[in-house]
Amino acid sequence: MIFAQVLVMPDVSWLAIAPEIALGLGAAIVLLVEVQFLPPIKRLGGLVAAILAVAFGFSLWQWFRVDDLLSSTDNAEFIAGFLPFGQMVVLDHASVLARLALLLVAALGIGAGWQLFERLGRRGAEALALVLLATSGFMLMASSVHLMMMFLGLEVGSIALYVLAGITRGRATSDEAAIKYFLLGSVASAIFVYGVALVFAGTGELSLLGARSFLSGTVVTRPAVLLIGLAMLVVGLAFKISAAPFHSWAPDVYQGAPAGIVGYMAAAAKIGGFAALIRVLHTGFPSMLDEWAPLIAGIATLSMVLGGIFALVQDDVRRLLAYSGVAHAGFILTGMVGGGVGAPDVWFYLAVYTIQLVGAFGVVSVIAGGTAGPTPIASFAGLGKRQPMLAVSFAILLLGMAGIPLTSGFVAKFGVFQTAWQAGFEWLVVVAVLASVVGFAFYLRVIVAMYMQDGDGTSPEPASPSRTVIALTATATIVLGLLPAPLLDLAANAIPL
């Protein structure tokens, strides 16, 4: 019914959250279908793919709608279309890009970890529904310009992820990961909420646009409360993107949670977290750039250095990817020190990295058989001989994450570095290029194992959706490395309001 209405009568307001509605309803449908018809998991997979496609279609529609709005001369129509629902959410290119990225990551993530969903049996439907819900939550988070709305999205997304982390009930490691994630995540959420309260105390506004106009019209003589509040918002979100020193959950969760879903969990949380972070800092507090840019630069430095160093000494590929994810959070933050101008570079990096991340965890999931359990680097030994295609793809993905030229990772790194350089953070760029070299070192360890050491172990054949996703992500890594212009042009629109 609602679908039909949206389709016949393109009410601008509904369109702004149509993808989220599609996913929410979709999650309910998946669960109902499961209870009613007990379909095989493959069918449910098809259904989920259709739901994601519908949401994707809505998002594309939104993209063109934003184009229309931007060229519209009618001011009232512009405001109504741009900031529907009483200025709680925003319909701009940045939010649509976040949706597209999240939907893509969800589709790829489910494909990459397909083995897990098959193994879960009847509970596969729950996992699928949770993925849809988490995606809708992070979408909402990315498109909100109101701190309460943002918190709502954050919680919807995070709680779904906590459950997903423990979805293989009965496995101690999985339970441990879920509890850890939940406890630390709750603390982070609490810090975020406290930050919201302090920002409200400082500006009298929960709306980011309201806060901005307040700050532009007022000289804050005693900004301590506001600054602490802002810092707490940053800390809360830094937890979500696993930036140091708020990253301690990541290795345990990445290692303990079922391998098939970790890629999606990590990628979705990163996209949502960064989207919100850009939104808060750039939309809400552009006038305080000089205050928050050093904070961001400090977190970025810590993340790159600590992430890199700890990744060097990991023996488990999942922990390695977790710490490398901390380093990547640092690299992405590097692109934010210049404020909104860096948003396109941040988005390009996020898109490229999350695609690689999902692909890489697809490979890990194949090796781990889709579930929890250790995946030591040694278990990759000789993979180059046993499964050449899988090994080549993994090597490409790892090289892409390392930022070797001719891969998308290099273009992404260059993008954030040049933004930071332009913003006057030359020292940060120097730290970052050196941290990239550390990155080469730990990614190479996995490649050494795959190609230069002999392994006696066997590894399971990937399921066909996983194989497709892994091949796709590896191809994207190369193609975007050679021809980055289309995606860069797309991301160039994504400067938030």
Partner: protein, 510 residues
């Protein structure tokens, strides 16, 4: 044309990659055959190249990503011409010398061909971003070549090689970004094009920092003393083709980079850095030679001799005279040929005896006369015997250096003497005397294939030794242009007999 020169080996690699799995015997022959395509293209470029012109020829410029000012910007001048020819010649030879590779042949051929594409790209790229892309991307195939097909300590050597060089280039990357933004500050739009960046006004501090950032990357690549420690490991562990390409071409990226980018973009800082660079170069010449003397391992000996020979190239570059630069450019090619030949020969004996220890041999000339003759020829070329190519390059370097830095030239000349000592002493121990060890008595001499591999190198060594003008007349205009620019933008003046206009130095016979 140049785009195809870069694309040809990459496409060849793809062709080999998609050869059917059950036709293993095809991989290497197809790879060798296809590697003649870039050689042919390079030949056309070489003969069409206009000698008297300093500007970039066959230039192509297309925007890659406009907002960042990144371009597909390639071109060739006298400085890169010789390197392109050398690269395209050495690749078919290295592949043909790789019949001993017996596992994962397909991956090997693919890696080598991708390496060729990357190396050609590095020499042709005029956009600094593009240059860096190639400069860094070639580490991957070389890493695999050392790490998969190397000898016992291959993984250690491969990782050391990779991290060392990647670390060196990291700061250069920051420097490249800095240059682009300096360009943006001064003209409004960022640019990475070498041609555009020449016009920048850098300021003393920035220029020195940038010189250091670029210089570090190239100095590690060369490698200059004291940054050379990765080289012996990489060389000793690499398979023959890897050593040939590493010494023959990859090290030249360092000397090429110093000449093209450090001298070209940072003239003021280059002039100021002459004492440091020349000192390190001379230390490298003497140190490399002295260490080579005491090496018990034949391959390591050749590797350390490279440190010494490349010292000459750096010295010639920073002598900042016509003869010095000319010598550096031609010695880049010469060293590729002679050291390539030596590594190939060491590889051949290793395939027979599975040892490179000098002490394990003795009296080989009785059992392997052709091989011994070839080795003697290559050793003489390396020492710098007049009439062979090594003489031309080192003589030009020494003459050029004497004009501006006489003290350095005198010390550097000892490198030539030391070269004679380590080469001839090693030759004496390996080849002369009677073959008293039973393993050595039954060794077969060079096969027809092995002779065929060596013939082109021997011929080029002779040609460049007898008639170096073939190359020099094409490089002259470009090296002169470098000096013209240095004299134009700095207070530096090349001391009296240092310019071609002061005194014409005929290449070959001195």
């Amino acid at each position: 044309m140049l785009t195809w020169l870069i694309a040809a080996p990459a496409l060849a690699a793809l062709v080999v990659a998609f050869l059917p799995k059950d036709r293993k015997e095809l991989y290497l022959p197809v790879g060798i055959l296809l590697s003649f395509v870039p050689l042919a293209v390079a030949g056309v470029v070489f003969f069409e190249f206009q000698g008297g012109e300093a500007a970039f020829q066959f230039a192509e410029r297309v925007a890659w990503y406009q907002p960042w000012g990144i371009e597909w910007n390639v071109g060739i001048d006298g400085i890169s011409l010789g390197m392109i020819v050398l690269t395209t010649i050495l690749f078919p030879i290295s592949l043909a010398a790789s019949t001993a590779i017996n596992h994962r042949v397909k991956e090997f051929v693919v890696s080598v061909l991708f390496l060729e594409a990357g190396l050609i790209g590095t020499f042709l790229a005029l956009d600094l971003f593009l240059f860096f892309v190639f400069f860094e991307a070639i580490l991957i195939p070389m890493y695999f070549i050392i790490g998969i097909w190397g000898s016992e300590r291959r993984i250690y050597a491969a990782v050391k090689f990779f991290i060392y060089t990647a670390f060196g280039s990291a700061l250069m990357f920051a420097g490249i970004i800095a240059l682009a933004f300096l360009h943006a500050e001064q003209t409004g739009a960022p640019s990475f094009a070498y041609q555009d960046l020449l016009g920048l006004d850098l300021g003393v501090v920035d220029e020195r920092l940038l010189f250091a950032a670029f210089g570090l990357a190239f100095a590690i690549k060369v490698p200059m003393f004291p940054l050379h420690t990765w080289l012996p490991d990489a060389h000793v562990e690499a398979p023959t083709a890897g050593s040939v390409l590493l010494a023959g071409v990859m090290l030249k990226l360092g000397t090429y980079g110093l000449l093209r980018f450090n001298l070209g973009l940072f003239p003021e800082a280059s002039v100021d850095a002459v004492p440091i660079m020349a000192t390190l170069a001379v230390i490298g010449i003497v140190y490399g030679a002295v260490v080579a003397i005491v090496q018990p391992d034949l391959k390591k000996l050749v590797a350390y001799s490279s440190v010494s020979h490349l010292g000459f190239i750096v010295l010639g570059t920073f002598a900042l005279t016509s003869a010095g630069l000319q010598g550096a450019v031609i010695q880049n090619v010469n060293h590729g040929l002679t050291t390539g030949a030596l590594f190939l020969l060491v590889g051949m004996i290793y395939e027979r005896r599975h040892t490179k220890n000098i002490a394990d041999f003795g009296g080989l000339w009785k059992v392997m006369p052709i091989y011994s003759g070839m080795f003697l020829f290559a050793a003489f070329a390396s020492i710098g015997l007049p009439g062979l190519n090594g003489f031309v390059g080192e003589f030009l370097v020494l003459v050029g250096t004497y004009a501006s830095l006489p003290g350095f030239a005198i010390v550097a000349a000892s490198g030539v003497v030391l070269a004679a000592i380590y080469m001839l002493w090693a030759y004496e121990r390996v080849f002369t005397g009677i073959p008293d060890k039973p393993e050595n008595q039954a060794l077969s001499d060079m096969s027809g294939r092995e002779i065929a591999i060596m013939v082109p190198l021997v011929a080029l060594i002779l040609v460049l030794g007898m008639y170096p003008q073939v190359l020099l007349e094409k490089t002259e205009a470009s090296t002169e242009a470098v000096l013209d620019r240095i004299e134009a933008v700095t207070d530096y003046e090349v001391p009296a007999p240092g310019r071609l206009t002061d005194l014409y130095i005929a290449g070959g016979d001195g």
